[in-house]
């Protein structure tokens, strides 16, 4: 929202107006705004000359795109096979109870996003949880609870 006309423009100017850049453009917009507001989506589609319906289809097909505002902190729980065998699923359930939010969503106070990811390729650290790009190896409920507490304090 705080992002201005110029910034969206500069993102779009990186891409020649061809449909093939749709995904990359959306990724860059999301990198900037943390999500893809409808207005930005429209701007991207118009710039690349793709119908809004296609932009929407792409944004909902690929799981990395967010169409609602993101929270302040991101939590990603790995559900790769190794993590699954070592109780990754139980961690998510625990966090869902803890944050009162279902996976793939953002807490009411916009403080945390809770997402799951299919294997971060850090299987040796299973079960692994990534909080704001910090890996939490061999994560456990207690460790995570502490991490969350610190973040909310800050």
């Amino acid at each position: 929202m705080s992002v201005s006309f110029g910034e969206i423009e500069t993102i779009l100017d990186r891409f020649p107006p061809q449909p093939e850049h749709l995904i990359s453009a959306l990724q860059d917009v999301q990198a900037k705004l943390h999500y893809i507001p409808q207005a930005a989506m429209q701007a991207v589609c118009e710039h690349l000359g793709v119908p809004l319906s296609r932009g929407w289809a792409v944004a909902t097909f690929f799981k990395s795109f967010r169409l609602e505002p993101r929270g302040v902190h991101g939590i990603r729980v790995c559900l790769g096979t190794a993590c699954h065998l070592k109780g990754g699923a139980r961690l998510v359930e625990g966090l869902e109870r803890e944050l009162k939010v279902s996976r793939g969503h953002t807490t009411k106070d916009l403080n945390f996003d809770l997402d799951t990811v299919n294997c971060l390729g850090a299987c040796a650290l299973a079960p692994v949880v990534v909080v704001d790009e910090n890996y939490q190896p061999n994560a456990s409920h207690r460790k995570l609870r502490k991490v969350l507490k610190d973040l909310t304090k800050a």
Binding site: M1, S2, V3, S4, F5, G6, I8, E9, L33, H34, Y35, P37, A39, Q42, A43, E46, P69, R70, G71, V72, H73, T106, L110, N111, D113
Partner: protein
């Protein structure tokens, strides 16, 4: 395409779906004397094998028109056109008759019986195709600068984009320099200081560009012309009038925000609105103490509230950064959604900006120094302490200037003041490229960002036009022509056209022949059906073609059957869907689709009756709301009523012609409509076609060709439901009495002319032939003689003997 038609007919078995219900060989028999050059029954004309065979026939027999008896053209026509293009057949040379959904799927009955109906519909198609004329799209020249008017900020974004792509533009703006623009910006986009930096860049570039000429926006006298050649007349301060020429129009119109009514709020001068606050911010004179932004004025809708909430958020950020002591808080209603991300919130928190939502059910109360609100979180009343209270601005009405401008353009202001472009819901191939661009917050409350990119987008649209024109690809899809000799310049067509498809003329230009704006024209055809002098003609679905098609079908119908004219959207959609869903209805109705009912000339109705129709059923979209040509169906409605009046004048039942409305998604309703109409007709005896009746029907037909009748009709096409009418238009019901008188006179006149048509007659003889009392007709005779429509051939027993006059 040569003049004598070579039509190829391809009947689809549809893998048994059609052939099992309709005896296709029998259809072939029934059509043997029709004018086709090739007729073939194919299992699937639409698949690769079928299309290959079709192409082969076109080349072998030199076919120049194709008639497919299969399913719905709405789905399949494009494929046939595409497949036949390589052998030189264009889309308009392909006609389809929907045997599957209008016959096979919906009627039970012996295949031979259904074959008869199928043959009738096909015969109609053939007759229509025969009159097909070659059609050449016209390419439009496109040069000169772009005219950017309206004074909205998006105009600058557009101008920059155009300049960057080397295209000139004339930008009409109340602000003549950078500072003026920035000063005026808060009125239209409160809370936009954050952007002023890059906006300045944009403006600098525009004012510096040699390709952009920024002119003061003088009042608009007129806008005439068409894409590639627009002309705007401007009233100069000294009263003189200057004209500027341009290739395209961009209307940059923003909506001003005005102070809301906050008189009821206490607090005196410590209460201000966003605009005042921003002025103070600009001067840097911010009183110390807590600032509370209160997003109020729910009356103006959520969009406005969200808009001001964001504005407040931005201003509070500016405040918090430059004047930390103000500790701003934004109090917003809980029922609006703030388009803010966690990152935004984090940022705001850092700057120490407070966010608080209030439950809108309980209106916050302002006391000196405190603002009481009801919190949706804990259901408690809380108090916000404030030293300066800032309240919302509210969106104002479009300026008089704007209204003036819009008179000339296919743009209207909705209730609530939002500007809307006349958007006809049509398929892309029916509308040419957008040539008039409406940008800015006047149409939709938008963030400055969006408005600016709108401007840029508009510029891109123009550039595309230019690029197309350079390729010679800037052409118009559907074309009406106005016969310059017949046209009297009455302007009816201009008034009733839904898409601005008839060019305006300068004020005071008088009754000059009109020109169609072939680019804006989208083929609604109500102009052609209206023109008193029948000067307007649609290409490639002419009244003549429809007439021929109807005759073709009628000639094969039985007395108890009815002719159905259905619009290509609601009516046809519902009828097709009835077939898809396998609903069943009596086969006594013969459907002929037209693009819009509004395009049917009233004389078509009478023609149908003259040629043996016993009843007509019309089905169109539900009026106004869903008509794809906005008023087309309404126009048809009144024409139908004229026909009813004439029928009763001729002593026939009014209900022989009836009109209904359908949504594309209402197949069941369509079935009920057909059943009930046929029931009603069953109770009527067929019209007995004796001399007298035929004469009257002829008279009706003649009446409907009378310019006088058509004029009155053309001025009273509007539904009572409507409030305001353009130009000469009047409410149909108000005009009803006049209309009836005119019809009576002209009907009688037509009968008289018919009577004396063969040999001169004296009043008693005329009266006898019309079995009317002499006194009823003699005044007319004298009048008509005066007008010269009758001449006196001589005298006989003291009576003048009348013959048809020259006039």
């Amino acid at each position: 395409m040569k003049n004598e038609a070579k039509i190829g007919v391809f009947l689809c078995e549809c893998g048994g779906k059609i052939s099992s219900r309709i005896d296709l060989p029998a259809v072939r028999e029934l059509l043997q004397f029709e004018p086709w050059a090739h007729l073939e029954i194919s299992p699937y004309p639409c698949t690769a094998p079928g299309l290959e065979a079709m192409r082969a026939q076109v080349q072998e027999k030199g076919l120049d028109r194709i008639l497919v008896g299969g399913c719905s053209p709405r789905a399949m026509k494009k494929k046939f056109a595409a497949a036949l293009a390589p052998v030189g057949i264009e889309a308009y040379q392909v006609e389809m008759v929907n045997l599957k959904d209008h016959v096979a799927a919906v009627h039970d009955g012996a295949p031979k019986e259904l074959a008869r109906k199928a043959a009738a519909l096909l015969a109609g198609g053939l007759a229509g195709l025969r009159l097909l004329e070659p059609y050449q799209p016209v390419s439009v020249p496109f040069q000169g600068p772009v005219l950017i008017t309206g004074g909205g900020i998006s105009g600058f974004a557009a101008a920059r984009e155009l300049a960057r792509k080397g295209m000139e533009s004339l930008l009409f703006s109340p602000a003549q320099n950078l500072d003026q623009v920035l000063d005026q910006l808060p009125r239209t986009f409160p809370g936009s200081q954050v952007f002023s930096g890059e906006l300045t860049e944009l403006l600098k570039e525009v004012f510096a560009s040699p390709l952009v000429k920024v002119l003061p926006d003088q009042p608009v006298e007129y806008v005439v012309g068409h894409v590639g050649d627009y002309r705007i007349g401007l009233r100069q301060p000294d009263g003189t009038e200057t004209e500027v020429k341009g290739s395209a129009l961009i209307l940059a119109l923003d909506r001003e925000f005005v102070p809301g009514d906050y008189g009821y709020i206490g607090g005196g001068e410590r209460v201000c609105d966003l605009l005042e606050l921003e002025e103070r911010l600009a001067q840097g004179e911010i009183e110390p103490g807590k600032v509370v932004f209160w997003v109020n004025s729910a009356a103006h809708g959520k969009a406005a509230q969200e808009f001001t909430a964001v504005a407040a958020w931005r201003d509070s950020l500016v405040l918090a950064r430059n004047h930390p002591q103000t500790k701003p808080t934004v109090l917003y209603p809980a029922n609006i959604t703030l388009p803010l991300t966690g990152a935004d919130l984090a940022e705001a928190r850092q700057c120490g900006v407070g966010f608080q939502s209030y439950a809108p059910e309980v209106h916050p109360v302002v006391q000196s120094g405190y603002l009481t609100y009801f919190s949706p979180q804990d259901h408690l009343e809380h108090e916000l302490q404030w030293d300066n209270l800032v309240v919302s601005m509210v969106p104002g009405e479009p300026a008089a200037r704007t209204q003036e401008l819009l008179r000339w353009l296919p743009v209207y202001s909705e209730n609530g003041g939002r500007l809307r472009k006349k958007q006809l819901k049509l398929k892309p191939e029916q509308v040419a490229d957008e040539t008039i661009f409406l940008t800015g917050s006047a149409s939709e409350l938008r963030d400055l960002n969006e408005v600016l990119s709108q401007g840029k987008k508009a510029a891109r649209g123009v550039l595309q036009l230019r690029e197309k024109a350079q390729r010679g690809a800037l052409v118009s899809p559907v074309v009406v022509t106005i016969d310059q000799d017949l046209c009297q310049g009455c302007g009816l067509c201009e008034e009733i056209c839904p898409c601005g498809g008839v060019e305006h003329v300068k004020p005071g230009a008088g009754p000059v022949p009109r020109h169609a704006d072939i680019h804006l024209c989208s083929g609604g055809g109500t102009c052609a059906a209206t023109c008193p002098y029948e000067a307007v003609k649609m290409l490639n679905n002419t009244a003549q073609q429809l007439e021929a098609r109807i005759k073709g079908v009628l000639s094969r119908m039985q007395e108890n059957e009815t002719l159905g004219l259905i619009c290509g959207w609601g009516g046809l959609g519902a009828a097709d869907l009835a077939g898809v869903k396998g609903l069943s209805y009596p086969r006594g109705v013969y459907l002929i689709p037209v693009n819009c009912l509004g395009s049917i000339d009233p004389a078509i109705f009478s023609m149908a009756f003259v040629n043996g129709a016993n009843s007509l059923l019309l089905a169109g979209c539900t009026p106004t709301a869903s008509c794809h040509y906005i008023y087309g169906v309404d126009h048809c409605w009144y024409r139908v009523n004229i026909m009813k009046k004439l029928l009763s004048l001729a002593g026939l039942e009014r209900r022989r012609i009836s009109m209904g409305y359908l949504d594309v998604n209402q197949p069941e309703a369509f079935v009920r409509m057909v059943e009930s109409h046929l029931d009603a007709m069953a109770s009527l005896a067929p019209i007995k076609r004796d001399e007298k009746i035929q004469t009257k029907l002829w008279a009706i037909h003649a009446t409907l060709h009378r310019p006088r009748v058509r004029w009155v009709l053309g001025t009273s096409l509007r539904r009572p439901a409507e409030k305001e009418f353009p130009g000469e238009q009047v409410n149909a019901v108000d005009a009803d009495e006049t209309m009836l008188d005119v019809l009576r006179e002209e009907f009688l006149a037509s009968r008289i002319l018919r009577a004396v048509g063969d040999q001169p007659l004296s009043p008693p003889q005329i009266a006898r032939s019309m079995d009317e009392a002499v006194k009823n007709i003699s005044p007319f005779l004298t009048d008509m003689a005066k007008e010269g429509r009758l001449t006196i051939k001589g005298w006989e027993g003291g009576y003048p003997v009348y013959a048809v006059g020259k006039a």
